[in-house]
């Protein structure tokens, strides 16, 4: 078994035989031509044929992947009418008296080189488009359309790179997964793979020798057999073709010639995924409400705008916890307002009117970026973190608030503040928010209605939740921290396992009191900690009257099934008794 790492563009597991795709890359020779006009006519005819082909491909792609996925073939047509491109070819044929093939190949290289040298990753990706249109012209000019060998059974397609026109011409029924050596996550192949919803890897560190080129790069092997040595035991295309492989789109790995154990494990995962998909089919678009009509909002927790695809796939009704830390971590300096604004706006727009709850910066001494220069602390869990950092560094906080409010013009954004322990903190935040709003008003920048809520994750906040409820629009209970602060147990410490009860009645009672206090003040209350996804407690949460559960995207559909199978009114008393203790009903 050999394992190679790639960048995943779509999750899922594919198991099948490898089919190594080889480009019909055209060999072009330079030759001198006698009749310039005839050669030019040849070129123009080829150009027109290429445009005709692209029109056909556009129509085919619209059917297969929709208009936005097909747009690339329209762009290719426009590229083939670009005066600079055409003039360059024409000039070469005229002044150097070379064959059209050579002029096309050289011009194509020059133009794709221009894109390859650009700063922007997206634009660099466009070099492939230029190559693609030149290849198309060359194929027409040379008249060689030997094409690809047909695939008899569904395969894992391994290629050095795939041009958009190549992907669309492939028989989709016969493809389980794409794995390419090059290509960015923004490449059209990646976009098409996502549209087709099949696992795909790009930038995969397969040995280049696979495609008949010698190169020492990309030669890295991991896996049970250890890290292979450069240049030894190199896979070649011939060896790989027809070999059994597993693509794990979730981990970004391809296992070539997997061992029994891996195969078994992957088959199991694939089965799980199939079940999840079936669940999705039956539950997608269905309401999350109990048999007797009690609703429960099922939102997703995300840590990155890349997770949005998962959010949509799992039919989340909103985003209940967007961890904004990723904007700050792994950076050299503070993210700018503009940078943050773009990300928040994108999320708000993608969720199209569904609620997006963004938690303001929640870092601490144990999880920080260097430029924050936070001092090391004896006990970071109880140190300068969360809202405490925001309030001691109002300039950093204001930047985030401005970005959030600006983005609120593009969707339904709600803001949530972490690590609250007192009413005073909430009022301080309010003051800052008001001054930020005033500032935006002065600059004539519009913003939307923004709900503002707090995390209930300290026992202090839970105990004064009646007072806090009067100050905010919603609560979201962060059970991870609440549990550790309440039980005085560090969950990372294995030695304490026998003392740790994740369903401790003290915790569950505290949650119940918090939700009751929220409802008394007329605000809603959700749970965004890990406990929210615990299906053992779903009935209890319904009994308590929790309004929202925010969980990792994959947990949404199982929860929806659970909720739809519950009769909340009938089970209420029993649930409260079972989990909160005998006399708990009146709590």
């Amino acid at each position: 078994m050999r394992v190679y790492q790639g960048k995943s563009v779509f999750g899922g597991i594919a198991i099948g035989k490898i089919h190594v795709y080889r480009k019909g890359e055209q060999k072009v020779t330079r030759s001198r031509i006698a009749d310039v006009e005839a050669e030019l006519a040849r070129f123009w005819k080829a150009r027109d044929t290429a445009i005709e082909q692209l029109k056909g491909l556009y129509a085919k792609a619209v059917k297969e992947v929709g208009e936005s996925g097909a747009a690339i073939f329209e762009i290719h047509q426009i590229m083939l009418t670009d005066d600079d491109f055409l003039e360059s070819i024409e000039n070469m044929i005229r002044t150097q008296q070379v064959n059209a093939e050579y002029a096309v190949a050289v011009t194509g290289d020059n133009f794709s080189g221009m894109f390859a040298a650009m700063e922007d990753e997206y634009m660099r990706g466009r070099a492939a488009d230029v190559k693609d249109i030149s290849e198309r012209l060359l194929t027409i000019l040379i008249g060689d359309d030997s094409g690809q060998t047909a695939m008899e059974e569904p395969v894992i397609l391994v290629a050095e790179d795939l041009a958009p026109s190549e992907t669309v011409q492939l028989d989709k029924e016969k493809i389980l997964s794409f794995v390419t050596l090059h290509g960015s996550v923004n490449s059209h192949t990646a976009i098409l793979a996502r549209t087709m919803a099949i696992p795909a890897l790009v930038g995969t560190q397969l040995p280049v020798g696979l495609f008949g080129k010698e190169s020492e790069a990309f030669e890295e092997r991991v896996g049970k057999e250890g890290i292979g040595k450069k240049g030894t035991d190199r896979d070649t295309g011939c060896q790989l073709n027809g070999m059994l492989a597993v693509v794990d789109g979730n981990q970004g790995l391809i296992y070539v010639d997997p061992d029994e154990q891996t195969l078994k494990e992957m088959r199991r995962k694939q089965e799980q995924e199939r079940e999840r998909k079936e669940l999705l089919q039956t539950l997608k678009g269905k309401e999350s409400a109990t048999k007797d009509g009690q609703p429960m909002l099922l939102y997703a927790n995300i840590g990155n705008s890349r997770d949005l695809a998962m959010v949509l796939q799992n039919d989340a009704e909103g985003i209940g916890l967007f961890r904004s830390e990723f904007l700050y971590l792994g950076k050299e300096s503070y993210p700018t307002e503009e940078e943050q604004f773009r990300v928040y706006k994108k999320v708000a727009e993608t969720m199209a009117g569904k609620r997006v709850i963004i938690r303001t910066l929640d870092i601490g001494a144990d999880k920080q970026a260097d430029y924050f220069h936070l001092n090391a602390e004896e006990n970071p869990a109880m140190g300068l973190r969360g809202i405490r950092i925001c309030l001691t560094r109002p300039d950093v906080f204001r930047t985030q608030l401005r970005a959030l409010f600006r983005a609120s013009a593009y969707g339904k954004i709600a803001i949530m503040y972490p690590m609250i322990t007192s009413v005073r903190e909430v009022r301080q935040i309010r003051e800052l928010v008001e001054s930020v709003k005033k500032e935006l008003d002065c600059e004539h920048i519009c913003y939307g209605q923004v709900e503002q809520g707090i995390m209930i994750e300290t026992p202090a906040a839970a105990i004064i939740s009646d007072l806090l409820a009067k100050e905010v629009d919603f609560f979201s209970i962060g059970t991870n921290d609440l549990t550790q602060y309440l039980l005085a147990i560090d969950r990372q410490n294995e030695a304490l396992d026998s003392f740790y009860d994740p369903f401790h009645p003290a915790l569950l009672r505290m949650i119940y009191q918090t939700v009751q206090n929220a409802h008394k003040a007329g605000i809603w209350c959700g749970i965004c900690g890990e406990l929210g996804a615990e299906t053992k407690l779903t009935k209890l949460f319904l009994a308590m009257g929790i309004d929202e559960l925010s969980v990792s995207p994959g947990a949404i559909l199982p929860l929806r099934r659970m909720i739809r199978d519950t009769d909340a009114a009938m089970e209420k008393t029993e649930q409260l008794k079972q989990w909160l203790g005998e006399d708990s009903v009146g709590i």
């Binding site: 936005s68 747009a71 690339i72 329209e74 762009i75 426009i78 590229m79 670009d82 005066d83 600079d84 491109f85 133009f111 221009m114 894109f115 650009m118 700063e119 922007d120 997206y122 634009m123 466009r126 488009d129 230029v130 503009e338 773009r342 706006k345 994108k346």
Partner: protein, 85 residues
Amino acid sequence: MKEFRYVITDPEGVHARPAGELVKAAKQWEASVKITSAGKTADAKKIFGLMGLGIRQGDEIVVTVEGADEEQAAAALEEFLKQAL
């Protein structure tokens, strides 16, 4: 000659698809359409040059229209930019 300024709001900047649309929009007019961004100028009727400017969100571009139908062309292109980019 007509000239106007516009700040790109599309988060993706002038990437392939809007560049293609802009070229289509510019080609409808007889007037020449030039776009200047960060000191570089490109012909808006040529997709490669346009994409080569690498225009991103937040960048200000100057659109210069010159020719018989420049009045209408400039108005139409400004409208197009507001809609698409």
